[in-house]
Amino acid sequence: MKTLLYPLVFLMAFAISSCQPDEEKPEPIIGTLKVNFVNHSSGEPISLDEMKYTNQAGNDYSISKLLYYISNIKLLGCECGEFTEEESYHLVKLLDDPNQGGLVDENSFSFNAQVGNYKKIDFAVGVDETRNHSGDKVDALDPINGMFWGWNTGYIFFKVEGDFTNNESEKKKFTFHIGGDGAYREISLAFDENLEIKENQTTELTIYTDINEVFSSPNLYDFNSFKGTTSPGENANKVADNYSDIFSLTKP
């Protein structure tokens, strides 16, 4: 009888102990950061399909579709340390899509961040080289968003399409599909006043994106001679160089 008792007592101890919750680790205190992107063209809000914008080369143009990846967000300059968002891939979308019943304007996202006072936000336009070629292709990174090239090139990082009036006064299309590992660009924006993430509260941060700047500097594009690119490579990398001054924390 006793021989049966020992294993039973042992099993019992095991069963009970395995039911206990894992030892509690100190959880970081968190709040929520909601990031809003406001797309504009030299201060004019973007409304789709209206021929009312003019780029620096003097082309009148409209925008029919605008999508870009914002990724790998970091908050810096806090005594509490640096905060890095996990699985940080977001797709900003502005397009008219019958599959989704019309206008799709997805320009904000939220995530939990460590409480503290931050001086600066870093993020990237595009998808980092590792994730561009491996990992789950879901949600923002689902190729069904139409932002994926396949073969060995990965994602389209930035897409803007529209019409422009050419030198012969005809309506023509421009198409900028920018991607490829060489077109991944990191952006860093410093806050005038510290960004404070408060416990159990939502802090909002607005970033203004000037689409006109994508066509302006340092590389100036006249749609008459360059209607865009739909491939990774040198042309795409040059357009990506223009991202350096498209983002701003102050209202235009």
Partner: protein, 380 residues
């Protein structure tokens, strides 16, 4: 005796202790007798379960008995006015659930106005029909039944008719727990069967898992490369492209379930369209002559091609995109872009076209066309 009581005590404590560790869903009492349908998905599809592109609604999970009900409805000609046409009449399993006609035959011999679309991987499809007029699988199911050309029924007639067929009350009860027949339950059952139809066993799928080199021939690899690349005659701009590309992936996006991002666009078939496509439902000029990008998976089996079935062969389709795109005012940006190069002509060689078509044939899933789970249950 005392030790025996102690053993009983231990056993009870042990049962209690272990049961508290069990996740709820393994408890025998709380699982419904028939349970969820087993999709048996490969990794590329499994990662999409419950994610943003999965359209399974919370009020219509896919269950074994729901799928069985839907399968019977799908194959039952009595769902049409004169018992001549079932859903399966225009969506034949051997042709990846499409038919071979340019325009499909309706219950009184009339013809539909567009080519029958294939059915598979609808679980990850954002809208239905060539013009996206149905937003959900559930909504889609009842539309051909009520179409005056296709099956010619009203929902009232449909419900009354099914009530008179004695086997259906049992199937509805098994699927939903109550024998009552309603159009909502008919639509849900059909939707469950349609979601259960998954195509994931082509050689292309093998290559997605094992790599192209392990699966594809040299010709198929050349075809895939052409498929992916948007042509740019300056090879410097697209390293490795040699200045060659066929632009297919712009809309037929690789690594999507059906090689389509389902965008609604004009693909330059004509300068004038008799059929406005999505433009029928949205009067804005930019939508006139636009249609949803169809699935490319199983394309070898789904001829004829385009919304009006105008092309009989894949070669004709490739020739269209190579040489014959019309500059319609709503032509998709991807097709219209010229960059610094020749306008809208790919100038593919015969060999390149053969390579492309060889790649397209790797999208054929023979398992889909022979899987008994999707076959006619009335033949069993």
């Amino acid at each position: 005796m005392r030790s025996r009581i102690f053993i009983y005590f231990c056993a009870i404590v042990l049962m209690q202790a272990t049961s508290c560790c069990r996740p709820d869903d393994t408890c025998d009492d709380c699982v419904e007798p028939d349970g969820d349908y087993d999709f048996n998905l490969r990794p590329g599809f499994k990662q999409l379960v419950g994610r943003s592109s999965d359209n399974t609604p919370t009020d219509n999970p896919t269950t074994k008995m729901g799928v069985q009900l839907g399968r019977h409805l799908f194959y039952d000609k009595r769902l049409s006015k004169n018992n001549t046409i079932a859903c399966a009449s225009c969506h034949l399993q051997e042709y990846a659930f499409t038919d071979t006609a340019r325009f499909s035959l309706g219950f009184e011999g009339g013809r539909t106005s567009r080519n029958s679309m294939p059915i598979f991987n609808l679980r990850w499809t954002p809208s239905f029909f060539w013009d996206t007029r149905a937003a959900t699988v559930e909504e889609q199911t009842l539309m051909p039944i009520q179409d005056h050309l296709e099956m010619g029924m009203t929902l009232e007639e449909l419900v009354e008719k099914l009530k008179g067929l004695n086997e259906y009350d049992i199937r509805f009860e098994k699927a939903y727990g109550t024998p009552e027949i309603t159009s909502d339950k008919i639509s849900k059952g059909l939707a469950q069967f349609l979601r259960s139809i998954v195509s994931q066993n082509s050689r292309y799928d093998d290559a997605e898992e094992q790599g192209d080199n392990a699966v594809f021939t040299d010709q198929e690899k050349r075809g895939k490369k052409l498929f992916s690349i948007h042509v740019d005659p300056d090879p410097e701009n697209v390293p490795g492209s040699d200045g060659r590309g066929a632009n297919c992936n712009d809309c037929h996006v690789l690594s999507t379930p059906n090689l389509s991002d389902y965008r609604v666009t004009n693909n330059g078939l004509d300068m004038e369209y008799n059929d406005p496509g999505y433009g029928k439902h949205n009067s804005a000029d930019k939508w006139q002559g636009t249609f949803k990008t169809p699935p490319l998976r199983n394309i070898e089996l789904t001829a004829p091609y385009m919304h009006d079935g105008r092309f009989k062969t894949l070669r004709e389709v490739v020739d269209h995109y190579d040489l014959h795109i019309e500059e319609h005012r709503n032509l998709g940006n991807d097709l219209a872009i010229s960059g610094n190069y020749r306008y809208m002509k790919l100038d593919l060689t015969d060999d390149e076209k053969d390579d492309l078509i060889a790649f397209l044939k790797t999208l054929t899933d023979k398992e889909l066309t022979t899987n008994p789970a999707y076959s006619n249950p009335f033949d069993e």
